[in-house]
Structure formats: C-alpha cells, structure tokens
Symmetry: C3
C-alpha cells in the first residue's frame, strides 16, 4: 500500500496563539472487484465487492516532533463499504444470553465493523523504540501478512485457513525496540477489561523480526486467555521468511497452534504450512502459494478437519497508486471442514473464488 | 450544489519514494431548516431538520491522471445528521423473519442510514466514456432530479410521490458513453448478490440524455427484479425535459410504472406527470410545480390511491456557497392514499409542510 | 483544547466557475490513558481508555465571510474510540415498550454514540451576535465545564455527580449576544419534535457570563420538559466563578436542581457545591477540587442519596499539542447512592479511579 502523504499547510491558529507546525495526512484505499464464488451447495454467487486485495479505508494520521528525538504520532483508520449501503446483521440476545433474533446495524465492511475500527492508536517514538496504545495490528498478524505472497488479501488470503493471531488487538499496548542490525523485538498486550478478572480475554504476544536487503524472517507468539481467565484458549507460534532473488521471491511459513478452550476435553493441535512465490511478470507481479492446514486436534465429535488451499493472482500497476488485479483460489476441505475462500474483506460463500478488479490508493 | 474543490498540496511521500502528484477534495453540505408539518391527525410537528434542500453530507473525492487520456477517480460521501444525535429505530426479527421488537442504531440521516451510504464508487474515464463501480445514483433518479425544479429537495421534492427508480444502486456497475453532440447514453446494473440466484433483487437501467445550451431532455428506464428472481417488481419509464428561456425555465416530466410484485394478482399501473417553472426573482430563484400521481392499479383491496402535490419555493444566495431558502408543499391524498410532504432527508408527518433555513456548501 | 487550524488551499473549482476562497479546518484529539478503577464489589478494573481528559474526536469546521460583517460557519465533530472496536450494547424493546433483550451497535465512545454526535451545527455571526442551529453544547454544560478545574474531564469530572444540564441539545437553536464590556447573554431551545406536542421533551436554557482578565463568572438556567409536555422534569440553576491570582486559580460553583418528573409525588431538590484550585507547578498544572452533592428530595423509597467527590490531577505539556496527565478521584456514596468515578468518556465501575495517559491534539 503506497500512500501519498497529503500535508495540510497551517495558515493560522485559534485564540491568537502562535501555531506549531502541524501536518495531518489523509489517505485511503478504494478497492472494487467483481467476485465469482462457486462450490456452495446453494449455487454460485456473483458480487461487486469492496476490498478484495485490502479493505477499503479512509485514514487520518499525523506526527509531531516533540524535540530531543521524541515524536508523538497517531493513526485513525476506518473501513467503509465501497460497494453498498446494505447494513450488516447482528444477533439479539435475551437476558440469559440466548439468541432470540437478529437486527441490522451500519456496516463498515472491515475493522470489526466499527468506525475507526481498522486502526486507532497514539504513539511515542524515540531512541528507546516505539510505544503505541489503542487498537492495532497484532504482532502475529503482521508477521503472517508480511510473509503471505497475497498479504492476507486477494482470493488466496492465507487467513482463509490460517488463524490470524487476533488480527487487531483492542485496548492494547505495543512496544517495538529500535532496529539493531536489522533485528526488531516486539511485545504486546491487549486487555480483556473485565471487572474483577484482569486475565479474562487478555491477549499477549511477542515477536522477533529480521529484515535486511532481500531477506525477511520473523517469529511471533500469540496467547489468548480464556474468557474466564483460566488458561489459554489459543496459542500460536509462527515462523515465516521471505527471500527475494529478484527473478523470484520465495515465501515460507509455519504456524503451530495449541490451547485449551474452556470446557474442552482435548488440547488444540493445528499445524499450518505455507509455501509460495512472487514473480515479476510483464510489468506486474504474479503470486502463487499452497497452504496445508493440518488439524490434529482429537475432538470427541469430528476433529481432524484438515484443508488445503491453492491460490494464484496477478496485479498490474496502471500508476503508482492504481492497479488492476485478478486472483483465484480453491480450498479442498476434508473430514467436514467448512473453510471458504474469502478475501481481505469478505469470508466468501464457496470453496472456489475468482475475482478481478481495480484498487486505487490515495 | 456548488462545491469548492479543496486541493491538498503534496509535501512528501512515504517510504522515500518519489510521490505522484495527488489531490483529495474534501467537500460537504450543512443544511439546517425549521420545518412545520401539518395535516397529521395527531397534530402539528415543529422540527429543526438536517438536509431540507439536500442531505447534509461530508465527502472525499480525488482524480488521478493515468496518462493516455485515462483517469482514475473516486468519490466517498457520507450523510450525517446536522441537527441531532438521536438514533434511528430498526426492527428486530426472529429466526422465522417475524418482527418481534425494535432497537436503535446510529443515524446518518441520509444514504440508507449507512456510513458513506450516499455515494461510494471508483471510476475509470477515458475516450471510451466513463465506467463506475460501487454505490451510485440510479440513471432514473438522476433524470428525475435534473428535471424536478426542486432537485428532489425542499418541501416540494418530486419523490414525495414519484417513485425514484431505486435512488441509489448497491453493488452496481454504471457506464456512460462520451457526449456526442450533446447526447449521452448510459447503462447500469445493481447486483442482488444472492447465492444461487443471480437475478433475485437485481436492478437494471438505461438512459439517453441530451443537454445543449438551454435544453435538457432525458429518457430513462429502470427495472427491479423480484427477490425470488421471477419477473419484475417494478419498471419505470421516465421522460423529462427542461428549457431555459432566461426569464423562465420550464420543467416537464412523465413517468409510467408497471410491474408484477411476487404474489400480486394484478399489474402495477401508475402514471406520474409533473409540470413546473423556475423564475429568476430578486437575485434568487422562485420554483413552483404541480405533480399528478394517477395510480390505476386494480388491487383487490383499495387501489386507485391517487394524489397530487403543489409546491412553491424560493432560494436566495448570500454568497456562492451559502443560501437562505423557504418552501411550502401540499399533497392532496385520494382514496386512502397516505403520501406525506417530506423533503430531501425526511419523509414528513403530514400532508402540508413549510420550511425555511440556511444551506452552506463547503 | 488548543486546536491547530489546518487550512486547505483552494486550487480550482468545479464546473469552471471561479472559486470563492474557502477553508476547512480538520482537527481532533487522541487521548489514551491507563485507568484503574476500584471500589466495585466485583473487583478492580484495569483498562486502556479513550478520552480520559476529553473525548477522542475528529472534527471539520469552516468559516465563510459573507461580507458586511456577516459570517457563515459550521462545525462537525464526531467521537470515535481510540482504544477499541468493541461495539456498544443497546436495548431491544417489544411493541409495548418492554425490554426483551439487547443487541450491539457501533460505538463512537462519546457524543451519545452518534456519528458527528459531539457537535454538528451551522452558524451565522455578525454585529447582532451569533446564532447557531443543530446539535450543540447546552449553556449550563458550558458554564459547568468552564468552572470545573478538570473541565468535566479526568477522573474528577464534576459531572460524575453534578447533573450537566443536558450536556448537548439536539434540534436546538442557540443565540449569543455580542460581548458588551465582558458580558455575554445567551438563550437556547432544543425541540422535542413530538407530533402534536410541541412542549414534550423540550429543553430551554439561558445564561449570562462575564469574562475579563482573571475573572470568569457565569449564571445559567436549564429547563427540561417532561415527555408528555406537562411541567418540568428538571430545572437547574447554576452559578459559578473562577479567579486567576496567577499563583493559584480558584474555582467555585453551586447548582440547585428542582423539578417534578411525570408521576413523581415529590419535587426534585438537589444542591451541588464545588470548590477547587488550579496551581501552576513544575511547568504543568495541578488541579484539585471537592464536590458535595446534597440530595434533599423526599422520595418515598430511598431518597437523600448524597455523595461527595474529592479529586486531584496533574497535566504536563510535552509541547503545545501533546501532554501527559494523571488524576485520581474518590466518591463517597451515602444512603445507597451509586455514583461512580468516571471521566470525560467513561462512567467508570467503582468509587475510586486512578489514571495516567497522553493526550494529543491535532
């Protein structure tokens, strides 16, 4: 996502005071594609969709130099639906917590369907590194996105079948060390905010990444506490790397998931493996990968719900900011697995999906 | 709606790359009026309302020159309530689809109560014409708005009683030919996006307009498929024209509606006729029109629910961007018809409405 | 709240017309703090919160010179959650108005949970004073905020226990006289907008303030009609003042509340008293106050639900736009009162709250 920084010139300041130099960057993405899903027993689905390669968004960000190498910054990013004003459905529950019906609420298409739900954080950066508080991408999701040839977008989004380590953490604090010889260490915590239960629903994570020249390598860890605060509902250990040979970029990732959700009698045990390539082709980029999802959890009912996904895509830049794209992915579900081929915004309706569209960044 | 283009100067670009010249236009409308409705059996209603002449809105748009005469552009426009933070009511349904109650959700006042629900589309324009995808005005609504002396706003909004051909189409694709000697042809399709039923809820339309000097003439066609995909719930055929003599501008429109909603035993048969004038007066504009709504549908129960509306309004510019206005309209309902006098944003509470207010465009 | 005015340069105008000079100001606040509540029987609460000192917000405003001393302006300000994309809970009611469950809707954290719900108004200013219509702060709330050492923010927000005269009025009209020797008179009305009942739910208010050099003094009156339009549900009479001696600024406020809510058999009778100081300290500001809430209402059940709050806070500017802060407040509830220590955005979970955080204005 190349984003142009649109800096606004300061003309004057309120209340007669001299104004500090100030910039706010307005940026965004409009992604509209035609999507054809198949493989659903009810039939095919033809849609004009918002956010195939990445969620359509509108963002505001800014940086203030505090002096002494210290900077304050912020980023606020909301999703929106570039395709439709149709509302989204939400469940209605009675006082006992049982679902008694549904109603509708405004859709933002991405970002947990919240205004500014994609990102909202304030940051302090300096010689000590970078600290951020708010709603922000998890370390594990960022690692997955960086290694995925499709950047967790297109029909082949790896998070169609690989769990994305919380994607974004609410009520979170994040710290990155400065880069040292290409290495950056990160930690994060997302508070569950339950009264009287500081551990319930808490998310924690850590990561170590290396980036230098053609190489990226990253390890990340993610831990989601059970809602009652007793033990981990899920732990992800993710190791991924890419190497850019110029004529081809190789992508590889493995993720092992464990955990014991409340009430479960067996431990979660999943291994995901991804191998992929990106190839410069005819002025654009060709991406392809294969993902194997091996669910070795011994659930009493069902279990062993494996799947694999193959995906191929192509994106061609019309300019620095506008590209045309097309992608296709297919999931083979086994043992009753019900994974569907979605993209950066939609979860999809079938086990095959084809799309083509235009994405414009501003 | 005169909108000032506020272009943001590019100062720098992210990731060290040279930046393409970029502009984003921020625009909007704040319309606040005092509205007095009467003719409701429960009594009068006095309100401070948002969007009498046109929905209060905030928009973002931009254009990128791709070279070779090709341009990429986008427009994102959200409604908001300039008058109130009161939420809107939405129904709650049980699993069988029956309404069991109501709840509230954030109101955006216009645009189907959705964030960016007024307009959200990406466009490509070139020698071939203009293609747009997303949520956009229907061809029929644009034709109606262009001919209506009140531009489908004020107390006299023609769509108080004339069906507006879907107003805006979700999940739609729109194509305009280049203008040829003043003629522009247009087609549109809005997908119903039902899995396994490509026709259900689909909207299609076409139009041919002529604009040159003092003349505008437009024909449009709109077809809404039934939700089950069997036949058309509604078809509108709309022919309208305006001629500006300078001392007076004449407006005339006719719309014939047919269709067979699912389960209906008779065909829809409605004829709407509009005649109106716009007169430059004392530095402002005086608008007036008369609309006859002749419902000839032979529904078993009721039917023949005719109505006519008379309307008059005046708008006076305080500047290029700010105007004061006042308008009045009255609907005479016949045979149990229940049309109410609304405006660009509200549906109104009675068969008479008077307003005055200020509209500011930015 | 110092806000930088970001003026956007006009480059061009639509439809070939010459463009009027136009400015839109984009401004906002990102406030993120760590909050620790205690005193709730269920235990402590640890949260990362949005808007401790003032609600996190994004705003758009502009001014147009109409000539002859007349100016048109507008302000649109939305809240957002800087901390989380968690939705908020709203009740579901059946057709009889009884609550049958709950559902969720997008949270904006402040501003009655509405898009542009913090402020949305259009204004005309000139030699006659200033008129505004839309959604805007009540005169009584502005008076309270001006006198409160914490500006109705931080852990010690005075409106934790002092009723805030409606805070913001929907569908309202507001008029301020020009300042005459430091005196400004104000009136306001917020319409209830009930069909057939012009008085139901109506809010009215008035104020007289004096500001000159180190002195501020303000008297305000607020009247909320019962929903059925019969009598006042609440009347607030608020008198407050501050005097800045330089080494210390003194704050004092008294508010008497009366009224007869529909169906109540006794009259509301509450007296709030606030005394506080602001002291410049080590480059920042130290604030402290004490509030006594004396509820003398003789309700048949309960009644006399008194409380008092003590609060202390410190804010230190890192720059003109960025500050660090910390505050603590404690409420002592008596006779079954259930006031909790909240802040500018949250209502809190206990009778004690401590916070520290960073607030950035842009």
């Amino acid at each position: 996502m190349k984003k142009s920084l649109l800096a606004l010139a300061v003309l004057t300041a309120v209340t007669g005071a001299a104004s500090a130099q100030s910039t706010v960057t307005l940026y965004g993405k409009v992604d509209l594609g035609l999507v054809l899903d198949s493989g659903n027993p009810n039939g095919k689905s033809v849609r004009i969709s918002s956010g195939v390669t990445g969620g359509s968004r509108l963002g505001f960000k800014g940086v203030e130099d505090l002096g002494g190498g210290l900077k304050a910054s912020f980023q606020l990013e909301t999703g929106y639906c570039a395709d439709s004003a149709a509302p989204t459905s939400v469940p209605v529950k009675n006082s006992a917590g049982a679902t008694i019906g549904t109603t509708t609420t405004t859709s933002f298409c991405t970002g947990s369907n919240a205004f500014m739900g994609r990102q909202a954080h304030g940051d302090l950066t300096g010689a000590f590194g970078a600290m951020s508080a708010g709603r922000q991408y998890s370390i594990g999701f960022t690692n997955l996105t960086t290694v995925d040839p499709f950047g967790t977008g297109f029909a082949g989004a790896s998070n169609n079948i690989i769990e994305a380590s919380g994607t974004r953490l609410n009520n979170s604090f994040h710290y990155d060390t400065p880069s040292l010889a290409g290495f950056v260490g990160s930690v994060e915590i997302g508070l569950g905010e339950q009264t009287g239960n500081w551990q319930g629903g808490r998310e924690t994570g850590a990561g170590l990444t290396y980036a230098s020249g053609p190489v990226y390598a990253g390890f990340s860890f993610y831990d989601l506490s059970n809602t009652n605060g007793q033990g981990a509902a899920r732990k992800n250990y993710t190791l991924g790397a890419t190497y850019d040979f110029g004529v081809v970029k190789l992508h590889a990732l493995g993720q092992k998931s464990t955990g014991t959700p409340t009430g479960a009698t067996v431990n979660l045990d999943v291994l995901d493996l991804l191998g992929g390539v990106t190839v410069p082709l005819a002025g654009g980029s060709l991406m392809a990968d294969y993902i194997n999802h091996n669910d070795r959890t011994k659930f009493s009912a069902g279990g062993n719900k494996d799947a694999n996904q193959i995906a191929i895509g192509y994106i061609y830049p019309l300019s620095k900011r506008t590209s045309v794209y097309s992608s296709f992915a297919r999931i083979i579900d086994k043992n009753g697995a019900t994974f569907t081929v979605g993209n950066a915004t939609e979860s999809g309706t079938g086990n095959k999906s084809f799309d083509f569209g235009v994405v414009h960044n501003f």
